[in-house]
C-alpha cells in the first residue's frame, strides 16, 4: 500500500522538468524547500522576538531610563528611548506570541516536520504537496498580520500572550484597539496553517512509509512529530474557537467573557489552557525526538528503551489533555477541582522522567562523540531536567498559590522552552544542516556558540527562580516600585547583562548558518555515519528525494554498534546476509 503510493508519486516526479525560480524558491511544493522556508521565517521572527526580550531586560534592570540607541523610536512607543508601560506590556505580549507561534512551532514542526518526515520514512514528498505550500504561505500571512499590528494606532496587543479576558475583550481596558484584533486574526490564520500541516503530517506518516518501515521502526523524531501533529489537529481548533469568541466580544458586542452581559471570564481561561497545555507539549515533543536521534547517533548506541520512549510520548500527549487546570489554581476555580488537576499534573511527570532516564541509559557504555549537535542535545537533556523538576513546585497547589504569576514561572517556562526546545532546535539544525544545504557547519564556531549560549542562558534564567521566591511578580514594568523587591535589584541587573550576552551570542549561530552555506566543507551522503533513511541519499537530496528507487527498510533506526557488522552503524536500508537469522536469534 505504502509502496504503491510511493511509486505513484515517483512517477509524477520522474518526468524531466526544471521548475523556474518562483516554483523552486517561492511557491515550492517540495517539502524540503518548504521546510527551509519555515526555518528562515522563524529565524527572522526570532530576531524580532529576541529584540523585544532585550528591551524588556533593559527596562527591568534600569527602569524608566533611556535605552541606549533607541532615541529614534517615535512617540508614543518610546519617549526619547524610554519605554512607557503600555509599550512594555506590548513587548512581553509580542515576545511570547512571536517566540511560541512564529519561532518554536515553525522550526520544530514546520521546518523539521516538513524536511524530515518524507526523508526519514522513505517517501518522495508529503501526501499533499499543494496543501503543504498553502500551509507555509498561510503561516507567512499570519506573520505579516501580526507584524502589521506594530504600525496601527494604539500599538500591538498588550494583554499578554494568554490574552486573559476581560482585559483583552474590551479596547479601553488596555488602550489597544486594532492591535489586539490583528493579534486575534493572526493567530486564527496561523491556526489554519497549522491544521493544514498537521493533516499532511498525519496522512503522510500513516500512508507513505516505505516498504518495511513499520511504526516501531520509525525514528523517534518521526514518532514525536506524528504525536505532535495529532495534538495540533485537536488543540488548535479550541484556540481558534476561543479567539473567535473574543473577537465577537471586541467587535460584535457579544458578552462571552464579559460578566456585565452574563459572560464568564474564566471560560476564556478554560478554553485557552485546554489548548495551551497540549501546546506546551507540541513545543517540546519534537525536541525530545530530535534529542533522541542525536544522542543515539553520537553515543553510537541504540536508544535505550525505544518502545518505552515512544509510549512515554504517547502518555505525555494523552495526559496533556487533562492537566490544563494547573494554570488556574488561583483563578477562582473550585479548589476541589484544583486538587484533581494537581494529581494529573504530578502523574504527567512520570513519562517525562522515563524519557530522561532512557537518555542517560543511552549514554551508558557508549562511545560518545562530542559534536556541536551532541553538545546541544545533551544540554537539552540537562536543561529539560531542571525545567521539569521546577514544575513539581507549580503542580503542588499550596506552593503554587505563592509562586504563581512570579518569576519562578518565567524561569520554569524558559528552562523548558529555551533550555528545552531551543537547544533541541540548535541540535537539530547542526545535525541536519549538511542534509539541508549540502555543506558542513563550522564545528568550532558551533561550539563557541554553544558554550556562550549555555552559560549565559543559565545565568539569565536560573536567578529568576530566586526572584520568584522573593515574590517578584511577572509582567511588571518597574520592580523598583515595590519596597519588598528593592533588595533584589542587583539580581535583576545581573540577569539583564547575561541576557544581552545570550542575545548577542545568537548572531554566532546566524553567522555560522550563512558562512557555512557558502564556505562550509561539502557534505557527503552520510557524514555522521547515521542509520536513518535521510542519510542514504545525496546531500542535499534531489527533487523526489532519492535519485534511484526508494530504499527498503530492514530494521529499526538505532542499530549502532550492532554485533552483526564490523562498523559501528547499520543503516535501516542496508541488506546484510543472515539478517533474518540474526533477528530470530535476538527475538529468542
Amino acid at each position: 500500500m505504502s509502496s504503491t503510493a510511493a511509486v505513484a508519486v515517483h512517477g509524477a516526479h520522474a518526468e524531466p522538468h526544471a521548475p523556474g525560480f518562483w516554483r523552486t524558491y517561492i511557491f515550492s511544493e517540495d517539502h524540503k524547500m518548504i521546510g527551509k522556508q519555515f526555518l528562515f521565517m522563524a529565524l527572522f521572527m526570532m530576531a524580532i522576538g529576541g529584540l523585544m526580550a532585550m528591551l524588556m531586560r533593559w527596562e527591568l534592570a534600569w527602569p524608566e531610563t533611556q535605552v541606549p540607541g533607541f532615541h529614534w523610536v517615535p512617540e508614543p512607543f518610546m519617549y526619547e528611548g524610554a519605554i512607557p508601560p503600555n509599550t512594555y506590556n506590548a513587548m512581553f505580549t509580542m515576545h511570547a506570541t512571536i517566540m511560541i507561534f512564529f519561532v518554536v512551532m515553525p522550526i520544530l514542526v514546520g521546518c523539521f516536520g516538513n524536511f524530515l518526515i518524507p526523508l526519514m520514512i522513505g517517501a518522495r514528498d508529503m501526501a499533499f504537496p499543494k496543501l503543504n505550500m498553502l500551509s507555509f504561505w498561510t503561516g507567512a500571512v499570519a506573520g505579516v498580520i501580526l507584524l502589521s499590528s506594530f504600525f496601527v494606532t494604539g500599538g500591538p496587543a498588550a494583554a499578554g500572550w494568554t490574552s486573559y479576558a476581560p482585559l483583552s475583550a474590551v479596547p479601553i481596558y488596555t488602550g489597544v484597539d486594532w492591535g489586539q484584533n490583528l493579534w486575534c486574526i493572526s493567530i486564527i490564520v496561523l491556526g489554519a496553517s497549522s491544521l493544514m500541516g498537521s493533516i499532511n503530517y498525519i496522512t503522510t506518516i500513516i500512508n507513505m512509509r516505505t516498504k518495511g518501515m513499520y511504526f516501531f521502526r520509525l525514528p523517534l523524531t518521526i514518532w514525536s512529530l506524528f504525536i505532535t501533529a495529532i495534538l495540533l489537529l485537536l488543540a488548535l481548533p479550541v484556540l481558534t474557537t476561543a479567539i473567535a469568541l473574543l473577537l465577537f466580544d471586541r467587535l460584535g458586542g457579544t458578552h462571552f467573557f464579559l460578566p456585565a452581559g452574563g459572560g464568564e471570564p474564566l471560560l476564556w481561561q478554560h478554553l485557552f489552557w485546554f489548548f495551551g497545555h497540549p501546546e506546551v507539549y507540541i513545543m517540546i515533543l519534537p525536541a525530545m525526538g530530535i534529542a533522541s536521534d542525536v544522542i543515539s547517533t553520537f553515543s553510537r548506541k541504540p536508544i535505550f528503551g525505544y518502545r518505552a520512549m515512544a509510549y512515554a510520548m504517547i502518555a505525555i500527549a494523552g495526559l496533556s489533555w487533562i492537566v490544563w487546570g494547573h494554570h488556574m489554581f488561583v483563578s477562582g476555580m473550585d479548589p476541589v477541582l484544583g486538587s484533581g488537576f494537581m494529581i494529573t499534573t504530578m502523574i504527567i511527570g512520570v513519562p517525562s522522567a522515563i524519557k530522561t532516564f532512557n537518555w542517560l541509559g543511552t549514554l551508558y557504555k557508549g562511545n560518545i562523540h562530542y559534536t556541536t549537535a551532541m553538545m546541544n542535545a545533551l544540554a537539552f537533556v540537562a536543561m529539560f531536567v531542571i525545567g521539569g523538576l521546577s514544575g513539581i513546585w507549580m503542580a503542588c497547589t499550596p506552593v503554587d498559590m505563592y509562586i504563581h504569576d512570579t518569576y519562578f514561572i518565567v524561569a520554569h517556562i524558559h528552562y523548558v522552552l529555551f533550555g528545552g526546545s531551543l537547544f533541541g532546535v540548535f541540535a537539530g539544525i547542526t545535525y541536519w544542516y549538511p542534509k539541508m544545504f549540502g555543506r558542513m557547519m563550522n564545528e568550532r564556531l558551533g561550539k563557541i556558540h554553544f558554550w556562550i549560549t549555555f552559560v549565559s542562558f543559565n545565568c539569565t534564567f536560573f536567578p529568576m527562580h530566586i526572584l520568584g521566591m522573593a515574590g517578584h511578580m511577572r509582567r511588571i514594568y518597574n520592580p523598583q516600585q515595590y519596597d519588598f523587591l528593592k533588595p533584589i535589584i542587583p539580581i535583576n541587573e545581573f540577569i539583564s547583562i547575561s541576557a544581552f550576552v545570550l542575545g548577542a551570542a545568537q548572531f554566532l549561530l546566524l553567522a555560522n548558518i550563512i558562512w557555512s552555506y557558502f564556505k562550509g566543507a561539502k557534505a557527503t551522503e552520510n557524514p555522521w555515519h547515521a542509520n536513518t533513511l535521510e542519510w542514504t541519499t545525496p546531500s542535499p537530496p534531489p527533487h523526489g528525494n532519492w535519485p534511484g528507487t526508494v530504499p527498503i527498510v530492514y530494521r529499526g533506526p538505532y542499530e549502532y554498534s550492532s554485533p552483526e557488522v564490523a562498523e559501528d552503524y547499520l543503516p535501516q536500508s542496508q541488506l546484510i546476509e543472515h539478517h533474518r537469522d540474526a533477528a530470530d536469534r535476538r527475538s529468542r
Partner: protein, 234 residues
C-alpha cells in the same frame, strides 16, 4: 543580601505549611537533580569516544524501566496527597472569620470596604478606603474579593496569599496575621498599563491600635471614590 535570596518574612498562620512543602520539594528535587547530573557527567567522561573502541550494544532493560517508572510515580503521588491536605486546610475549610471586609480590584487601585459603625458589611454606612488595609493581629480576617473591571490578583507576599479577583464573582479568602507591621499588597495579574505600581498597603496592628484607627475612620470618613475612576485608560 543573603536573607533576600529566600521567601519574604512570613507573618501568616498557613505560611509555615506552604514553606515546609516548598522545602520538602526542594530536597527531593536537589537529590534527584544531583543524582541525574552526576550520572550524566560520569557517563559523559567515562564513555567518551576513543579510537578503536566500539560501544556496547544495549537496547534497553525492562526491569530498570519498571523500577524508575514506579519510583517516580510513588514519589509524585505521595507528594500530591500531602499537598492535597494543606490545600484543603487553606482553601476548603479554614477557621471561622472574626473580621470581615470586602476587597474590590479596579484599574489601578484596591478598594477596601470596611463595615460601618453597625459592624455589618453591605449596609449603607460601609466605608471605602483606597489602598489602605488595616487588620488586627491574630484575628481571622475574611475577605469577599471581587473586581470592577478586569482580573486582578490579591497578593500578600508576606502572607503567602494569592487569589485572583474576578469581575462578576465574589471569591472568599481568609488570612490571619501573626505579627504587626507594614506590608505591601501588589496586584499580581496583568491588568493593563497601570498594572505595575498597583499596590495597597497592609497595616497589621494590635487590637487597641486597630480600634483607635477605626474610630478615626468613622469620625473622618474619606470621600467615596469617584465612579468614573477605574476603567479610564488614557
Amino acid at each position: 543580601m543573603l536573607e533576600y535570596l529566600y521567601f519574604p518574612h512570613d507573618i501568616s498562620t498557613f505560611g509555615p505549611q506552604i514553606d515546609w512543602l516548598f522545602e520538602l520539594i526542594f530536597w527531593i528535587v536537589l537529590v534527584v537533580w544531583t543524582a541525574v547530573m552526576i550520572t550524566m557527567v560520569v557517563f559523559m567522561i567515562r564513555y567518551r569516544a576513543r579510537p578503536g573502541r566500539k560501544a556496547e550494544y544495549i537496547e534497553g532493560n525492562s526491569r530498570l524501566e519498571i523500577i524508575w517508572t514506579t519510583a517516580t510515580a510513588a514519589i509524585l503521588i505521595v507528594l500530591a496527597f500531602m499537598s492535597r491536605s494543606t490545600w484543603a486546610d487553606i482553601k476548603e475549610h479554614g477557621p471561622p472569620g472574626q473580621v470581615f471586609y470586602a476587597v474590590t480590584g479596579k484599574q489601578f487601585n484596591w478598594e477596601f470596604t470596611y463595615p460601618g459603625p453597625d459592624g455589618k458589611l453591605g449596609t449603607k454606612d460601609d466605608i471605602i478606603v483606597e489602598n489602605e488595609l488595616h487588620v488586627p493581629v491574630n484575628k481571622v480576617v475574611r475577605v469577599d474579593l471581587t473586581s470592577k473591571d478586569v482580573i486582578h490578583s490579591f497578593y500578600i507576599p508576606n502572607m503567602r496569599l494569592r487569589q485572583d479577583a474576578v469581575p462578576g464573582r465574589i471569591i472568599h479568602v481568609w488570612f490571619e496575621a501573626t505579627e504587626t507591621g507594614q506590608y505591601e499588597i501588589p496586584c499580581s495579574q496583568l491588568c493593563g498599563f497601570g498594572h505595575s505600581g498597583m499596590k495597597g498597603n497592609l497595616t497589621v496592628e494590635s487590637q487597641e491600635d486597630f480600634d483607635k484607627w477605626l474610630k478615626d475612620l468613622y469620625a473622618n470618613p474619606p470621600a467615596p471614590p469617584s465612579a468614573t475612576e477605574g476603567a479610564s485608560p488614557k
